[in-house]
Symmetry: C2
Subunit: 327 residues, 2 copies
């Protein structure tokens, strides 16, 4: 399904739209990690996460006749904002289905990007899929899935193309590339890009404790699920299981998964703030946490890690900063 | 003294060393400002501020025979770190003279970059210039001034070259370019770069209330001083007066200065965190504050502003986040 040709095509379509995020580093982080640490801060991407890449890739790949009736996404978070912005750029409607207990700020942000937000009664047991199917049928909307969709994976893979190129400019051709992993869209996309452009590197998924479905799936060789499908502070990257399309790619290409604690994720957020001057959300900080605090599980002189997003509220951010020594 | 030829030469010397920081934006900030806002986040530069550009430019311009005996800087902040890192990259000694009442963290950070920190007794009235002259004489160190030094101005000007190029890629050729201004090194460097590369743009200095020496100097046409030479939360960009070299450049090229309150700077820090996912220090946020809250003093459909640095402690950052509505 997804392959490097699709990723390169997505990169062409994203040109001039997606930001080419820089590759950051700090000697202070290198010292903590015991090796060189290069950080790809996708929190600086439009809408504050890598999800814009996949959203824009999918929306731009649609036939214009299909696209003009609009797109649909289920999401209470980063994917919704990525799809909403992409749809607005094409001047087509975006309908985002969100639970009615989602944070007011997330609903407001998605609306501010021009999307129509349809709430479903999650606490009351309403099925978002049924709500979505009704909307698709009535209005001819096209569903953009968050990760198990080839054009979404191709869009996320453009992040991997940039990593390969930017690392090569620094003389780095061998490294573990740690990727914050939920359903595996970003991880599988980066893995495909590295296979073609930086075969000395390997992608490795990083997940929070209690939601290590991908790490366990890579160990067992088949899709494993989490006891809980959502929850914890790393909610942005928590999914019930790796995807049907993403998992076979990860199984073929990825190194072993890494698992970090929530406390490690908070501390990585604080260090990203202090040393890199970027804002990470808890789920967006798990790969940096692995780079900094799980060095014994990593190979090579250099480690590369993504910060997948930065959409976090101030109370959670204050918790992260509290992990630092007082100045 | 400083001119576009020097800036272009500095850009060549900085290539592969200084980061090309991206140009960020957010529809949420555009809405607050009432026009398009493009942000150049120099907080993402090495050592967390634009000062690395000038430090690296000056150290790299020295004759190798002169350079090898080492460099000297007076600074308790960003300039010290920029010079320290540049010296370490060339493998030459850096001596930084700091007051003995400087924050322990700043001293530790400068030492961690490989510099030798020499403390002088500021509360006791010791003269840092005398301490510096003694060191220069004894050890043959070369002083790198923080702003009134042509090669430092040239280095800061490379930020202006990038602004001109990155704005042109977005189709922007006319804009006020707001620059966080202390002694005027960054402002005058950017002004020279824009004169050559983007003549439809004009640099404008932004300062905090109570330290608006440059704004008043531009009005009167001669160098004016502040009642206080230091203090306030924007300490990183507070100087007693514009420089002897920087002021004539600013007088010839810059538009009127803007002045913002400390509260506006704190609120701009919070919005940079929330909407751009970058960390600004108070002094580094004054230009964004002007873009967002002083729109009536700005011309054109698009405004460009620098975030000059992000070296801030967590207590001050918490103060900034407290200016946001609760999530």
């Amino acid at each position: 399904m997804s392959d490097i040709t699709m990723i390169r095509a997505a990169a062409q379509r994203l040109k001039g739209h997606a930001r080419r995020t820089p590759l950051l580093s700090s000697p202070f982080l290198d010292e903590i990690a015991g090796r060189r640490v290069l950080v790809k801060p996708e929190c600086l991407q439009h809408t504050g996460s890598f999800k814009y890449r996949g959203g824009r890739s999918a929306v731009s790949a649609l036939d214009p006749e299909v696209r003009k009736t609009g797109v649909l996404a289920f999401s209470s978070g980063n994917h919704a904002q990525g799809v909403a912005l992409a749809a607005r750029e094409f001047g087509v409607p975006a309908v985002i289905i969100m639970p009615n207990d989602a944070p007011a700020l997330k609903i407001a942000n998605t609306r501010a990007l021009g999307a129509e937000v349809v709430l479903y009664d999650r606490p009351g047991g309403e099925s978002r899929e049924e709500v979505g199917e009704t909307l698709q049928a009535e209005r001819g909307l096209t569903l953009v899935k968050p990760y198990d969709e080839p054009e979404v994976i191709a869009g996320q893979g453009t992040c991997g193309l940039e990593i390969a190129e930017q690392a090569a400019e620094l003389g780095v051709t061998k490294a573990d590339v740690l990727v914050c992993c939920g359903g595996g869209g970003l991880t599988s996309g980066i893995a495909l890009a590295l296979e073609a452009e930086a075969p000395g590197m390997r992608a490795r998924p990083v997940e929070p404790e209690g939601f290590d479905d991908t790490a366990r799936s890579l160990l067992s060789g088949r899709i494993e699920t989490n006891a809980q499908g959502s929850g914890g502070i790393c909610d942005a990257i928590v999914t019930p299981a790796p995807g049907q399309i993403t998992f076979p790619i990860m199984k073929r290409l990825c190194g072993p998964g890494l698992v970090v604690s929530e406390t490690e994720a908070l501390r990585a957020m604080a260090l990203a703030w202090q040393r890199l001057k970027v804002v990470a959300e808890p789920g967006g900080a798990v790969a940096l946490a692995a780079a900094l605090f799980h060095g014994h599980e990593i190979e090579g002189d250099t480690v590369i890690c993504t910060i997948s997003g930065g959409n976090v509220d101030q109370a959670m951010f204050a918790r992260a900063l509290d992990t630092l020594e007082p100045a």
